[in-house]
Amino acid sequence: MTVNPLYHHTHERLEEEQVWIQQAKSNPELFGPLYKKYHEPIFRYIHQRMDDTEMAFDVTSQVFMKALKNIHKYENRGVPFGSWLYRIAKSELYQSFRDKQALRTVNVESVTLFEMMDEMDEDQSEINKKILFRALGKLKEEPLQLIEMRFFERRSFKEIGEILDITENNAKVKCFRALEKLKKYFHEK
């Protein structure tokens, strides 16, 4: 279970990151600190949705290559650098699914299922755990992505909105609908 600590930056850390970005724009060799900082969260984002660990490392490398190639296009206009990287990661990830190189995987932890049962006002039982696990498998891709980001990765609505390129409020409404859909599948016999 990963909370995304990098999203909740202090002002000083954000300023420091902006300096790194400017330096990396003029010299790709200075991209190192950004790579070091975001390698693990980007890898975890990809690995969460992939079965093959080696493939997840490869896709992570591709994400950073793409980021290096396009960093001159990045401007800090409301979307934090981390969210910009997640957008690239999402694109690369789905490209790998389309190319049939990787298998879309949903990785769920029991503890998250129990927390979700609590959220859904359902009894925390082993039977319900199995039903919820099955219900998650029935979700379409869009609501599944939202459930993954909100409940498995515990991202804020603001960050979800930035990654999916929608407003914070839209992210909130969509997450709520995804949860309602999940509840519907949960109660289906």
Binding site: H72, T105, V108, V111, D118, G137, V173
Partner: protein
């Protein structure tokens, strides 16, 4: 997605395993190898293209400037024409604003206005500077004796971005003649004796800067015994005096009882460690202890400081288990010939500890404040009692001399104003930390989420209002609350729909949560509803 695999509890890679696979040099070399030839690179075409664009821009800007010399002037005029209204005071609910009381005064006479609360406004004859001295001036006044009225009037109650205000009394005063603002003579300021709703000890006095929406300190003098004149009651009958003493005794007992009921926050309940105790990091099964699963940086502290072999850490144990009995935890160490049971408690470390410590400090400050207020009120009552007892013995003069104001009377704030606006006796208090994950705001008995543009959190224990969203310093994503206090949360949608939610103290700030709002009915008085809710919640 047709082809999808579902995994349950796949082992996670740890940070060391992931960082061991970092290879920036490889990423960089691949990136450099994938670079296009120089003539295809933007670095080649960039300067050429930029130079062309620059030349074109230079000529077009020069051309435009020569054609349009008045352009800048037009812009300046547009800025000057912007509305002067700063929207500093903006009622959140349409039709629920707090009305002004209007008084007509003669600018050529010394005038005095006494409000129903007892607040006195003295306007010297040279104080008002209207265009026409032969016409009366309208003085508009409204007081905000409680948090509901300040909220409904839309008075901004944030101070320097980090704090909210606890108010002990607030007044807004304006003056106009034929809808034109009347200036105040700075040599002859208006004098106001504002009745306070709380004892002003520890409070400062402020005026609202309506341009910056912030508060600046304003000179004031507090008077706690203004009721002395009114207190010269006809208490010359012993039965009446005895009745008063009995009444005071009852109030003192009630205060003692409420003091005994105020619970001092314990470091244990905030999971704050005790430095002198031994601690352990234990990888426990989060499924078995879901109540602990939400904490990231958890260690276990051994409760006794003595009575066990502290060298047990040097022994080899074949098994270590965590067991729970009601709310207590026990760690069991097992070896072939020995078993050690140690009571433990989970404690926080790192960032979570820092946050918990902040919340604990706030809870302690709130506790101390409550106790101090009870003590102050008790001391006032005891002095009153002494004065009545002396009066019983025939010393009525002493009664009139020494009788002090009752706890419900917190005195007055005397100040002078030479600018219309809002004046406030207040004390800043910190905003709660934002929740790690913003909760869902959901309508009761509905499957729709509420689309609030503004959220107001009334902390009933601390007598504070925290504002989030439009027109507030804090965005809704910063939403947070003090989990150990009684709260009333009020949300307003852009269309004007509003919802209310009560949260009793002790609601845990769970990581994943939703807050259910009851929809306000149209025609319902928000003022009555909030007042009722707050009074009910307080009495629980």
């Amino acid at each position: 997605m047709t082809n999808r695999k579902m995994n349950l509890d796949r082992p996670n890679l740890n940070s060391e395993q992931i960082s061991a696979r970092q290879n920036f040099d490889q990423v960089l070399s691949k990136h450099l190898l994938s670079k296009p030839p120089v003539w295809k690179s933007p670095w080649f075409w960039g300067p050429t293209g930029l130079a062309s664009i620059g030349i074109a821009l230079f000529f077009s800007v020069n051309y435009l400037n020569s054609q349009n010399e008045t352009h800048d002037k037009t812009n300046t005029l547009a800025i000057k024409d912007l509305p002067k209204d700063t929207e500093c005071i903006h009622p959140p609910i349409e039709g629920e604003d707090v009305p002004f009381q209007t008084f007509e005064v003669n600018p050529n006479k010394n005038e005095e206005i006494i409000l129903p609360s007892g607040t006195k406004i003295e306007i010297p004859k040279e104080s008002l500077l209207p265009e026409n001295r032969n016409e009366s001036v309208e003085i508009e006044v409204r007081e905000f004796p409680d948090k509901v009225s300040a909220f409904l009037a839309g008075i901004p109650m944030d101070y320097q971005k980090e704090d909210a205000f606890i108010s002990a009394g607030m007044i807004e005063i304006r003056g106009k003649q034929n809808d034109q603002v009347v200036e105040i003579n700075s040599e002859e300021p208006i004098k106001i004796d504002m009745r306070l709703t709380k004892n002003p000890a520890g409070f400062d006095f402020w005026s609202l800067n309506e341009t910056t929406k912030d508060w600046t300190k304003h000179p004031v003098k507090y008077e706690l015994n203004h009721q002395k004149e009114e207190s010269k009651l006809s208490l010359n009958k012993p039965t009446e005096i005895k009745k008063q003493i009995a009444n005071i005794d009852k109030q003192i007992i009630a205060l003692d009882q409420s003091k005994s009921e105020v619970q001092k926050p314990s470091a244990e309940s905030f999971k704050i460690p005790n430095e002198s105790h031994q601690k352990f990091d234990l990888d426990f099964n989060k499924k078995t202890y879901p109540e602990l699963a939400k904490f990231e940086n958890l260690v276990f502290e051994i409760l006794p400081t003595s009575g066990y072999d502290k060298n047990f850490t040097k022994k080899t144990w074949s098994d270590v288990k965590l067991e729970k009995n009601k709310d207590a935890y026990e760690m069991i160490f097992t070896a072939t010939s020995e078993k050690l049971r140690l009571p433990v408690r989970p404690v926080l470390q790192g960032k979570e500890l820092t946050e918990a410590q902040k919340e604990f400090d706030l809870a302690i400050a709130s506790f101390n404040e409550t106790i101090a207020e009870i003590e102050r009120n008790k001391s006032v009552l005891q002095k009153q009692k002494e004065a009545y007892q002396k009066a019983l013995m025939g010393d009525l003069a002493a009664l009139n001399e020494k009788l002090v104001s009752s706890p419900s009377d917190n005195g007055t704030a005397s100040f002078q104003v030479n600018q219309w606006g809002v004046y406030n006796c207040d004390k800043p208090s910190k905003y709660p930390a934002a929740m790690k994950n913003e909760p869902f705001f959901v309508w009761e008995n509905s499957s729709t989420s509420a689309d609030f543009s503004q959220i107001f959190v009334f902390n009933l224990d601390k007598d504070l209002r925290f504002n989030y969203g439009e027109r507030a310093i804090h965005p809704i994503s910063n939403f947070g609350f003090h989990a150990n206090d009684d709260l009333v949360i009020f949300g307003v949608e852009r269309g004007g729909d509003f919802g209310i939610c009560e949260l009793k103290s002790g609601k845990s700030k769970s990581i994943i949560s939703k807050i259910i709002f009851k929809k306000g009915e149209s025609g319902e008085s928000v003022r009555d509803l909030l007042n009722k809710l707050m009074n009910e919640t307080v009495s629980v």
